[in-house]
Amino acid sequence: MLVSRRDIASKRSRLSLASLLILIATAQAQPAFNTDQQIKLYESWVSKDPANISSRTLLAGAYIQKTRETTDFDYLNRASKILDGVLAEKQDYEALRLRNIVELTLHHFSKAAEYARGMTIRWPGDVPSWGTLGDALLEMGQYDDARAAFEKMLELKPGLMSYNRLGFYHFITGDPERGIALMQQAVAAAAKYPENKAWCLVELGNMYFKTAHWDEAGHAYREALATFPASHTAYAGLASVKAAQGKFEDAIDNYKRAQSITPMVQYAGALHDLYMAAGNRAAAQQQADMVDIVAQLEGAANQKANRTLALIYANQDRNLNQSLELAKADFEVRQDVYTYDVLAWALYKNQRYEEARKASDQALKLNAPEALFFYHAGMIANSMGDTATAAKRLSQALDLNPGFDIKQASIARQTREALVGQASPSANPR
């Protein structure tokens, strides 16, 4: 049916035109083309032209991004298979670069560093490879070299990826102000994916939380959720703030949300402690069982290294031999301050105090603003009769962040009280 101009004019009404106006006024930019849509698109390209290397590497990259967003390693496996296929045919630059990211994600740090270093020699202007190299070196505890890689990255291309990395570096090497400033720049930089921006916001929130700026931390976590609603790490961050504030129900709720998105074992560990604090032993046991299931699955898959699991077992004072084995195995693949700290804690729980102190000293060497490091050092010193150091370290932990952990901060406070003979101030943020 053709419509004449007169028909159009006669069909106009104030109501219909008003609705047009509303739509114009509320016009939004094109909806974002999210990772799932990209995967679908690239899969269709590969399906139509399976030999096309460009399409295959694009699909592998989208799978890797999806892994970031979901922690579903099936996507990483798919990416890995694609990259294996491409690299068997051709030493494709993109495939090589993505292969490095897969290796790093699988915690094959020395291999990732070796490959990345090779790529930076071959392509000195390749920004992502400098990032991958720095990431791997950081995990391996080679901080000076990691910083050089990140600074090279920043020099080549200031942006989210370089600000984020350098910010984290400065934070853990004892310069939280600079770390926070750089992370703020990362947040403000253009992000290719909403998840990338949310990741930086969570990192920023973590820095605020660790330095007891709980309100700022909460704001960053909420902004992360507004940016990427499936950010389980943002929910976990919010939970840690709520727990520090003594709002256990809110903390539990947020950890459960995080757990429902991605069942990271650390969420089960935190929920266990929160349920115990709330007097719900049955729910706490369920979370402990969940931790054990993960441990069994990892064992069945011959995954021996897991510092997160090691820390949980040590915190829960159970499976302490296994905790130490897990920490030692993780130490075989990375020697950063976090692994040293977990190793120290597992050694302490196994009453190997001298070894624990040596490992703890290594954890403290960067003066990272990590209350947990100081707490562990304090408890180790106390067990060795070095009460002055113990009191100092425990005070450092509680001064840095009085709510660093629902259970451990309480122990720190009680221990310090016993040591100095006076009541410690309760948890108060800055």
Binding site: V3, L23, A27, D72, V265
Partner: protein
């Protein structure tokens, strides 16, 4: 339910995948990879026949968008990149002739090396020509070669692109509705720029800026054909393999990547090749209206023309004149896809140099420096792009959502409503062969206007005159 045994792996330093490789990007900083280095960021591509009718073809590509005159010495071409014009003479959208340009730094500036010949390999990976048909070299900032054979200019020129990019971005952001303010209309007041005393309302975001240009001219006879050829430009970086260069940037027609490709895919688009374009990108180009009603609401080319007229958008001062007659004949919904993809400039060597041939076998016949490509595209899209209006409006195209149509909530729809960005005086808007560039183009090679002067040089205001004892620095 655990999704896998690796769910416990700590992701605390899982790297950003950075799906964009170490890229630059396209069309005046329009893609995510662009930030950082402009030497590989193509601003525009032109292909036209020598306007004097001497049987020569002219190809031009710009990089270094928004080059500021005050920082003139800082703009260079990258010695690490391979710049290419790719030409398909057989209709396959695969290059069978290439013009390759590389640069080397010298003690006093840069030297350009230009070769023309059959490509060693085709596609997104390139290799330098082994046995070029022709090679010349010369200093950047100069014209070199032979006016009877290949002639080349490389260096800064005035950016010939004209567009009210700032207002376009406001429309996309939803803070403005249209290019020119319409205080009262059947749609109510539409927010836009006010009309100035001289009858214009737009602001050319590229006015006063330069770009680094590669301009190449050679005899049409070298092409060996006298029909339609396809042309596009690429920039590639060393792939690390011997003599290998991987493409990270490309452009054919203006604004394809900018307007139609979703942001996360822009870099993938730039890495692609024209022969893949139809299969990969057609879904992002809207359906075209046809002569017959395609959805039962009277949604035809004729009805759209009527709607624009009824809304007062087909006449000045609120809209440019319609480009196509209401009786424009079209039988395929794929018309826009056919015109816009593959992303190449199509130049009919048998036509006169000034024959625009709008819609004859693409958007336009090649692209001349002065063509008002923005107005042409805005006007074609407002008359041809299928738009799904809300059912309550009861206008042609209203009703339930249908795939292939843009929706009124998409700001790209309101951006094209007026069919122009009103940079030129209203009295000239009927002519789309003049873009209203801020500088006058040359009538001879290299055709592009000289670069905008450094602040304080003649032609700039309101700077005081430079000290006569100090010579003005030379442009690159």
């Amino acid at each position: 339910m655990f999704r896998g045994t690796l769910a416990t792996v700590c992701l605390f330093m899982m790297p950003f995948a950075s799906l964009a490789p170490n890229l630059k990007a396209a069309d005046h900083r329009d893609a995510p990879g662009v930030d950082g280095a402009g030497e590989g960021d193509i601003t525009d591509v032109f292909a036209f026949l020598d306007p004097a009718g001497n049987g020569r073809i002219v190809l031009a590509m710009g990089v270094n968008p928004f080059a500021v005159p005050g920082a003139t010495p800082s703009y260079r071409f990258s010695p690490d990149y391979l710049y290419q014009f790719k030409i398909d003479r057989s209709g396959t959208y695969v290059e069978d002739l290439v013009v390759q340009v590389r640069f080397e730094n010298t003690a006093t500036g840069q030297q350009a090396f230009v070769s023309v010949g059959k490509p060693v390999v085709t596609g997104a990976v390139s290799q330098p020509l082994l046995s070029p048909n022709s090679s010349v070299n010369g200093a950047v900032g100069t014209t070199f070669g032979n006016a009877g054979a290949i002639q080349v200019f490389t260096g800064l020129r005035d950016d010939p692109f004209v567009f009210d990019l700032a207002q376009f971005n406001r429309i996309l952001a939803g803070t403005q509705d249209v290019f020119r303010n319409i205080p009262t209309s059947p749609l109510g007041p539409l927010r836009g720029r006010p009309v100035r005393a001289d009858g214009t309302s737009g602001v050319d975001a590229f006015g006063g800026f330069n770009a680094s240009y590669i301009v190449v001219e050679f005899p049409v006879a070298w092409l060996g054909v006298s029909k339609i050829i396809n042309i596009w430009a690429t920039v590639s970086a060393s792939s690390g393999e011997l003599n290998g260069f991987t493409q990270f940037e490309r452009m054919g027609q203006p604004a394809i990547n900018t307007v139609f490709i979703p942001k996360p895919l822009k870099d993938a688009f730039n890495q692609g090749i024209p022969s893949d374009d139809n299969a990969r990108w057609s879904q992002f180009i809207p359906d075209a209206l046809t002569t017959t009603d395609n959805d039962g609401t009277g949604n035809t080319i004729s009805a759209r023309a009527g709607l624009l007229t009824a809304l007062g958008l087909g006449t000045l001062p609120n809209g440019a004149p319609l480009l196509l007659p209401a009786t424009f004949a079209n039988t395929t919904k794929d018309l826009l896809r056919i015109a816009l993809l593959p992303d190449v400039l199509r130049l009919d060597l048998s036509r006169e140099p000034d024959d625009l041939a709008i819609g004859a076998f693409g958007v336009t016949n090649g692209r001349r420096l002065g063509d008002d490509v923005i107005d042409i595209e805005l006007r074609l899209l407002r008359q041809l792009a299928d738009v799904n209006f809300p059912a309550a409006t009861k206008v042609p195209g209203s009703g339930p959502a249908r795939p292939g149509a843009l929706t009124l909530g998409d700001p790209r729809v309101t951006a094209v409503l007026q069919g122009t960005d009103f940079i030129r005086p209203d009295s000239t808007l009927g002519d789309v062969t003049v873009s209203g560039n801020d500088q006058t183009f040359l009538t001879t090679f290299p055709y592009l206007a000289p670069p905008n002067p450094l602040p304080g040089e003649a032609g700039t205001t309101p700077f005081p005159s430079p000290n006569a004892t100090h010579p003005a620095p030379a442009h690159q």
